[in-house]
């Protein structure tokens, strides 16, 4: 048993740290440190810098612009990005669609899309959820009817994060009504500039615009934008949902936010004394740190140990459940630290204390997206109880 990095791993961490230190623009770092979500241009700028080293898609093979990094190096890189703090590589491109194309896509699709995904020349969003299909994703109804060498798509997607910023969407559509609900689904890539697509913003409880509804009205999609086989899109979806486990726990984010909480507690005074002087608050921060450390070791233990994965096949649910809980607790703490001065409603960018109160509101989404806490509990309970 050993919890330390090897000399080579330590050298890699130092290399990453030095690279981020030298190349991360100050204004991006400052915005994220204050608690703002990255702007689109922040993510694009930073991902292109990372992509110079293959670090935008570190887990991809070199032939597609990746760095072929092993699991430990990936975790180190992710941790350093979070702790900087710097924007993460755009997740739909790099962790979802990219691996799906490598597994199910044609060589032409790979050659065309993968470099653009890595460099964020195209911004993809994910068109999975529908008004009637949330946790029961396979019940989706957005239909794609084959007409010659096109699919004609009609229907509606919802909760589509960043659709208003995106160039393309990868969507699950129904291509066969008769079959078992999982069997008539196909995985399509759709250019959002195609006629018949309408995007309507959904304001979330933080007052900001992350989410959208996307309407498809006789949208014509060339058949060469089908990924994998027709009616086998569920395979792609399952692969996509099961594939991404490295970032699921968000450990580095928890450390960075907890560190920020400590900083705010030291810098903010109440009746002339720093909040940090309150031993109860310090103990609360310490207790959160203990749980983040527990999550961090659990994350390594599962991701790096095949025997542990075999013992707990549903380990991703453990990571998602605990990671979500901690993110939400830390965001709630940050909002309490922002206190009464964090109450004024303003455009997110001009908040003196950072947008900690609205970020707390939006953190409630963490236990809803990516498989709700209830679904994760169901998955884990199935393995435990039967």
């Amino acid at each position: 048993m050993d919890l330390t990095l090897t000399t080579e791993q330590r050298a890699f961490r130092d290399e990453v740290r030095a690279f981020i230190q030298a190349r991360l623009p100050d204004d991006i770092r400052a915005r994220l440190r204050a608690g703002h979500p990255p702007r689109k241009q922040d993510t694009v700028t930073w991902q292109r810098i990372l992509n110079e080293r293959g670090w935008a898609v570190p887990h991809w093979p070199r032939q597609y612009g990746g760095a072929d990094l092993g699991q430990v190096e990936r975790l180190i890189l992710l941790d350093e990005i979070y702790r900087a703090p710097a924007p993460l590589p755009q997740v739909f491109n790099t962790n979802m669609l990219g691996p799906v194309l490598m597994k199910f896509g044609t060589p032409a699709q790979c050659d065309h899309f993968l470099p653009r995904l890595a460099n964020l020349d195209l911004w993809f969003c994910q068109g999975f959820s529908e008004p009637g299909s949330g946790s029961d994703l396979a019940s989706l109804r957005t239909a794609a009817r084959r007409e010659g060498d096109h699919y004609v798509v009609n229907g509606q997607k919802i909760w589509t994060t960043t659709a208003h910023l995106a160039d393309w969407v990868f969507a699950l559509v129904r291509t066969d009504d008769g079959a078992r609900k999982q069997e008539g689904i196909s995985f399509l890539l759709i250019d959002l500039k195609t006629p018949g697509i309408r995007i309507r913003p959904i304001r979330s409880i933080d007052g900001d615009h992350h989410l959208n509804e996307v309407f498809f009205d006789d949208v014509r999609v060339p058949v060469d934008q089908l990924v994998g086989q027709e009616n086998r899109g569920w395979d792609c979806a399952k692969f996509l949902l099961a594939n991404e486990r490295t970032g699921i726990a968000n450990v580095g984010l928890c450390w960075e936010r907890l560190d920020r909480a400590r900083e705010i507690a030291q810098q903010t005074t109440q009746a002339g004394r720093p909040l940090w002087d309150d031993p109860k608050l310090r103990a609360e921060i310490a207790a959160l740190g203990a749980e983040v450390r527990a999550l961090e070791i659990t994350n390594w233990r599962f991701l790096l140990t095949p025997a542990e994965q075999a013992r707990v096949p549903a380990f991703a649910s453990v990571l998602k459940l605990k990671g979500t809980e901690l993110q939400q607790e830390i965001n709630a703490l940050l909002a309490r630290l922002a206190g009464p001065q964090g109450l004024e409603r303003r455009d997110a960018d001009e908040l003196a204390h950072g947008p900690l109160t609205p970020r707390y509101f939006y953190s409630r989404a963490a236990s809803i997206y990516g498989g709700t806490t209830e679904v994760q509990n169901d998955i884990l309970a199935k393995a435990l109880v039967g």
């Binding site: 048993m1 310090r282 203990a290 070791i297 884990l380």
Partner: protein, 376 residues
């Protein structure tokens, strides 16, 4: 990074688990508690036969030189079996003796420990100190014919079955001072020593040691403040790591019982484990158990490498996290059982009793939250 036991560690843990399943089944444990014995002498011999009493001792004195990592699977098995053997008390007494005692002192005591003939106890905590790590009021003074100790040590795990006790006492300074404590070997049958042995709430052997000008043999040089302080700190760190492993074992046992119960217990014509409310509780308990497992590992590594990067913080984080998470598992396991979980004749509640005892030793969750707050 590596999160797995090596083959020897795993084999030892497995052998011990088999031994305790044979000799320490819950029914045997109940019978033992109903009688006068603190523990089962045959089980103790069998532990020695497996080499466990020699495990943490130096090779020069008949031991295997094992550390906290080696103790992890052992203590986990002890916790899982709710063992009554005064193993940890003996390990800690031997560790303190190894760290502070002269070579001659080690040669005199440790081979007996290794062979299983000698049981020790570690008497550091005092009633007034509660969880303060160095609140030692017991006073040591040099007399003409050796050193004398006066003070109260409580609770002392394993006091009843111990032949010798390693006691911390102050040669200088005030309670709470980092320097000025030293370690002494005390015979609990000596004049001036009142050893009141009792069972702790988890049925393990405990006790209170009242010293009134009692004769004591200093371990090493009692005025060598650095060596003495280090011996206390490292012994407590090993105890903390062992307590974490023990709590994980006790939580595992409670969790396993609860899963078995919800699969088999029927109400309203179906297994209660089909109810989502119970299923989700099981899932949350499992998450807590995995967190505790991770931190027991962190504690073992930190106790073995006390000068490592995060060692001091990891020890406190581990005690805090394991204490809270193991307790949550035990609470959930009792709840899933319903009424039967509340009965003394059923094992699940004994996990909670054991976890509570271990949480209260070597600093409880709150105390370690406060220590972490002071570190930051």
């Amino acid at each position: 990074m590596n999160f797995e036991l090596d083959d020897d560690q795993r084999a030892l843990g497995d052998s011990l688990a088999r031994l305790l399943a044979d000799r320490g089944a819950f029914e045997q444990r109940r019978a033992l508690v109903a009688g006068d014995a603190w523990h089962d002498a045959q089980t103790w011999s069998a532990l020695a036969g497996l080499g466990l009493t020699a495990l943490p001792l130096p090779e020069a004195h008949g031991g295997f030189g094992g550390g906290a990592r080696d103790l992890l699977p052992v203590m986990q098995a002890m916790g899982r079996a709710l063992s009554l053997e005064p193993y940890l008390a003996t390990v800690l007494g031997a560790t303190a003796l190894r760290l502070a005692g002269t070579d001659a002192q080690q040669a005199q005591v440790l081979p007996g420990v290794a062979e299983g003939g000698t049981r020790l106890a570690w008497a550091h905590d005092e009633p007034e100190g509660r969880h303060a790590p160095l609140w030692v009021q017991a006073a040591a003074r040099p007399a003409k014919d050796g050193w004398r100790l006066t003070g109260v040590k409580s609770p002392v795990a394993g006091l009843g079955p111990a032949q010798r006790v390693v006691v911390s006492a102050r040669v200088s300074g005030a309670p709470g001072d980092a320097a000025g404590c030293a370690l002494f070997l005390v015979d609990p049958a000596a004049p001036g020593v009142q050893a009141r042995a009792f069972r702790l709430v988890d049925d393990t052997a405990g006790g209170e040691l009242r010293l009134d000008d009692a004769p004591a043999e200093p371990l090493g040089d009692p005025l060598d403040a650095a060596v003495q302080a280090l011996a206390i700190e490292r012994t407590q760190a090993l105890g903390l790591a062992a307590a974490c492993a023990d709590m994980v074992g006790a939580a595992e046992a409670a969790f396993a019982l609860a899963m078995e119960y919800v699969r088999t217990r029927k109400q309203f014509g179906r297994a209660i484990g089909e109810n989502q409310a119970l299923r989700h509780r099981a899932s949350q308990m499992f998450v807590a158990l995995e967190m505790a497992r991770s931190m027991a590992l962190a504690a073992a590594v930190a106790a073995d490498e006390p000068d490592g990067e995060h060692a001091r913080a990891d020890l406190s984080r581990a005690k805090l996290s394991v204490g809270r998470n193991a307790r949550a598992v035990a609470h959930g396991a009792i709840q899933l059982h319903g009424g039967i979980g509340m009965t003394e004749e059923y094992a699940v509640g004994h996990s909670l009793r054991r976890i509570h005892v271990m949480d209260q030793c070597f600093g409880d969750a709150d105390a370690h939250a406060a220590r972490l707050a002071a570190l930051a």
